[in-house]
Symmetry: D2
Subunit: 313 residues, 4 copies
């Protein structure tokens, strides 16, 4: 059951702090990266869904990635989301990732465009062929409307087209089948990352090589502990830490459901928490999302305190 891989451990999807005028807040982003490195993370995923990548202009994306790469200074690998609806546009972002010093790119299935398995395969192959960086597939049906097929992932892994998968599909059965299939291939230098921040213990037990927890922005040390406990086969300890993090995740339930859907709930909560923890200067989020209001912020504060985090504001 050995699962050696290139990208392992805790790799949080870094949120992109914004100033109140909507510009990227470089100082806050530098502090956030340091907060994550101090928390013991093993890599950073820039420009992911939690990083508001589809809300940022190309100039903002370049700025954010640049800050993250420079602040990290090689301490851990930086993966860069290259998330656009179609191949030509993804390739533009791959060029930027190469130019700005990312170690790998992370690419979803096409979206908006109506495609099937054939076009998805063509897409991933075309991106990989034109890229000097390793490519990880990002499986996120809730955003793109389609799941990456198991047989496709296994085929592209075997051929070395893909260097890994970031699985945010919520399909735990497919995850297990993917793990089984990968274990039957010769080379296991393939990153199998889970985005399911509330089930990291179970996913590590199942053979995930790492996790990409949005909540890891708020409590990186917690996820580091969870991984360490799992690494020591202390599964009861891992579960206890996961449950603590699961309760902390209730910061997303602080959002008023009448005026906050998925994106606002997640990014809004993480930024609100990071602001309260003194890591970033503003809880501002991109339009059409809204920042958490006073009542919501109060509920976030309460959860942070229950989780034993050091609230500064």
């Amino acid at each position: 059951m050995a699962t050696p891989t290139t990208y392992t451990g805790v790799i949080p999807p870094v949120v992109t702090p914004l100033a109140d005028d909507g510009s990227v807040d470089r100082g806050s982003l530098e502090r956030l990266v340091q907060h994550l490195l101090d928390g013991g993370v093993d890599g950073l995923f820039a420009l992911g869904s939690s990083g508001e990548t589809v809300f940022l202009t190309d100039a903002q994306r370049d700025e954010a990635l640049d800050v993250i790469v420079h602040t990290t200074a090689g301490a851990v690998p930086v993966l860069a989301g290259c998330i656009e609806p179609t191949t030509p546009r993804v390739l533009e972002r791959v060029r930027a990732a190469e130019r700005l010093g990312a170690e790998a790119s992370v690419v979803t299935a096409p979206f908006y465009a109506i495609v099937g398995p054939y076009e998805i395969e063509r897409h991933l192959r075309a991106v990989a062929a034109a890229s000097s960086l390793p490519v990880l597939a990002y499986d996120i049906p809730v955003c793109v409307g389609r799941k990456l097929p198991l047989d496709l992932l296994l085929r592209l892994a075997a051929e070395g087209v893909l260097a890994g998968v970031k699985d945010s599909s919520g399909d735990d059965v497919a995850f297990r089948q993917l793990r089984l299939g990968l274990d039957e291939q010769d080379d296991n230098g393939f990153a199998l990352l889970t985005g399911h921040e509330l089930v990291v213990d179970g996913m590590l037990l199942a053979g995930a090589s790492g996790s990409v927890p949005g909540l890891g922005n708020v409590d990186p040390a917690g996820y580091t502990r969870l991984h360490q406990l799992a690494g020591k086969q202390d599964w009861a300890g891992a579960r206890a830490e996961q449950e603590r993090l699961g309760r902390l995740f209730r910061i997303v339930d602080a959002a008023d459901p009448a005026t906050a859907a998925g994106a606002t709930r997640g990014v809004g909560a993480f930024k609100c928490a990071l602001h309260l923890l003194g890591v970033i200067d503003s809880p501002a989020v991109s339009l059409p999302m809204r920042r958490f209001d006073e009542a919501e912020t109060g509920r976030v504060r309460e959860q942070l305190e229950l989780a034993g985090l050091d609230v500064r504001r």
Copy 2:
């Protein structure tokens, strides 16, 4: 039942011809625009789904819109799709539409980002507030994963936030309720456009002010005749013309379903047909789509001939 509006009649979503190297084929695009104007259309919708807008880089989009505006030379209004996942990115495209001389922008609900009704309203209001052009909402759940709510559309119409709707929702019940609701408002200068190219007769009977038929690229004169017959209340004639166009639409069934999903089927078929008709130089489409192969092209040719169109290749 009078339904005066700003944008009426046949407004095809202009496909974007590409050279074999993937660049925008300006000469073919000029000929296509002329083909559409010769066919009697009443407006042009640049950079829509049929225009491969989510496949094009910003530079390509600007180039295509520029060619369309200049070739049209004010003969008919040019609407420009400003189709991006979120508000800040849509606003970048609105700026380009303003700069390049479009008469209105067309904007979908956010996509990829997980949003609810509150964020959709916030999105459309923010775009309209920051734009000097009229804004039409583009209701296309098959691409963005969510339907624009009826009450939202009526509210934004009443307030003048929106200048119209392009309805590609396929929800004919909601379309009728929208028509009824608009008729009860004071001002009817609101464009209610249908994207359902196979049901234009029924939609005109129901009070659509215009149609945006992808198939109109191939046979603009057919759609012009259909609208004229409906305008004369010759509904039997309109139905007969619609049925001829419905049979012509079988060019999309020419695609091999094993290697062509929705996007490839539609855009691939329209470009294949325009190439056979001698309007554009290449049937090339953007990655990850593929152009029609020889067998598929043969089936398209057959349908074009059955429809009485002038096949040149």
Copy 3:
């Protein structure tokens, strides 16, 4: 464009009146059938979705169908819904329909069971093979989770396996393609019925042979007029009548959305209206639905009066 068929005109899906104790209210059902016949309908569809068929026990279903058949007394054809998740259970209902004197059965794709096109075809063929009654397919993806494929319907029509389709799919493009395909087959004695009560004018223009409007329970005479106007090619008149009915349909919006989803909204509104019109004795509906409360009933009354109907309570 002639479209002769066996089942044509207005064929309302008869609601099943219940007494306050949940039993079938035979007297009210007899009055409802008479109300529909007096309204000039051309057929009756018993035990459809509006008839609460999935809420009724087999004994209640038999009782309702028996009352409808006997009250109708051959004046118009009675179609019987045989709506169960799988083939063996549908066949039980087909046996009942045969025994109780229905003229045809109406059958959906399997539901709850996860099936694909192969199993759907096997299902419809098995039901037809074992039935002495003509079988109509009921295309209602909103309830069963899957659309009946176009090629399947055309194949089963050509082979005479199916005698018709009741289309509640909301897919107007597929409807038009089905019409075109049927018109290219030799025999057109195939019933193409639309369940879209708000678009009957457009569907008749498009070649529907009849309509199955739930709202036809409330205002059968309105739908009869609409069909007659369409039959005389008075499409402006048909549209005006359709729009009146479209406004009347707002009785379903009378429901409080917090405690009423689709089923309650539709059946609850129709029964509330029929009660106010004096046709049935109680607006009771089956669990887990609830009957309209006083506020909702007030809003229904208002719409009935606006539509010019004779409110008795």
Copy 4:
């Protein structure tokens, strides 16, 4: 983290063996129950999805449940699926479960009928109120089209309306949140059963009280071992056993995808395997499913042998 519950351990959803004429094969069912008890299971779930309950007539359901209860003879608890679209029909099945000696009933959200959270709550409360047996909620969105809301489950657990949940939702985040919420309530005598047969190790780590694995029909001893290893906190051993079972699950991939969707793949594979193992006399399944053909059976045999099971045919 103690999670005492009434229903714990391995509780397979018993398949219903059929004779070639479609009748319930009582002898095979008796042998299957004995095979499961010999395999060390802790309970039986009769008339679940794997038991083809929506394919069986009421008479067949009664017969199957009767055989299961009598063969079990009190050795382990027998839970009975009461799976029908709506409340009145579920109550008919609850009456049968009571009469035939089941220990609890298992009830889904309404299906076919379009309902929302309000109606789902009303449904579960009405069933529980009218039942003398404990009621477990069956969360299976892939069959009924809607997920049971977390807050609803916690509320009904707290009030004692529900005795447990059988979770086949595939939503591992919601599962964890449910576990956390239940642990914060006073009484933990609530059964949290997982239907995810490929992730039982992870679900037990996460605090599931038991599993309901369809594959447990084929290899009950494997699931018993898996539970025992987890009970001893031997998580590496549990994972290894789960992975063996994960490979065995490939019997469902033996099905030809062109003619076998979800239901056929699962039930067809389990029955094919049980037939090869000599437990049941025929691999027959209900219409519109089909039994595995020779090629498929060969592939199933191969997987059974790889898994070390005793193939008899």
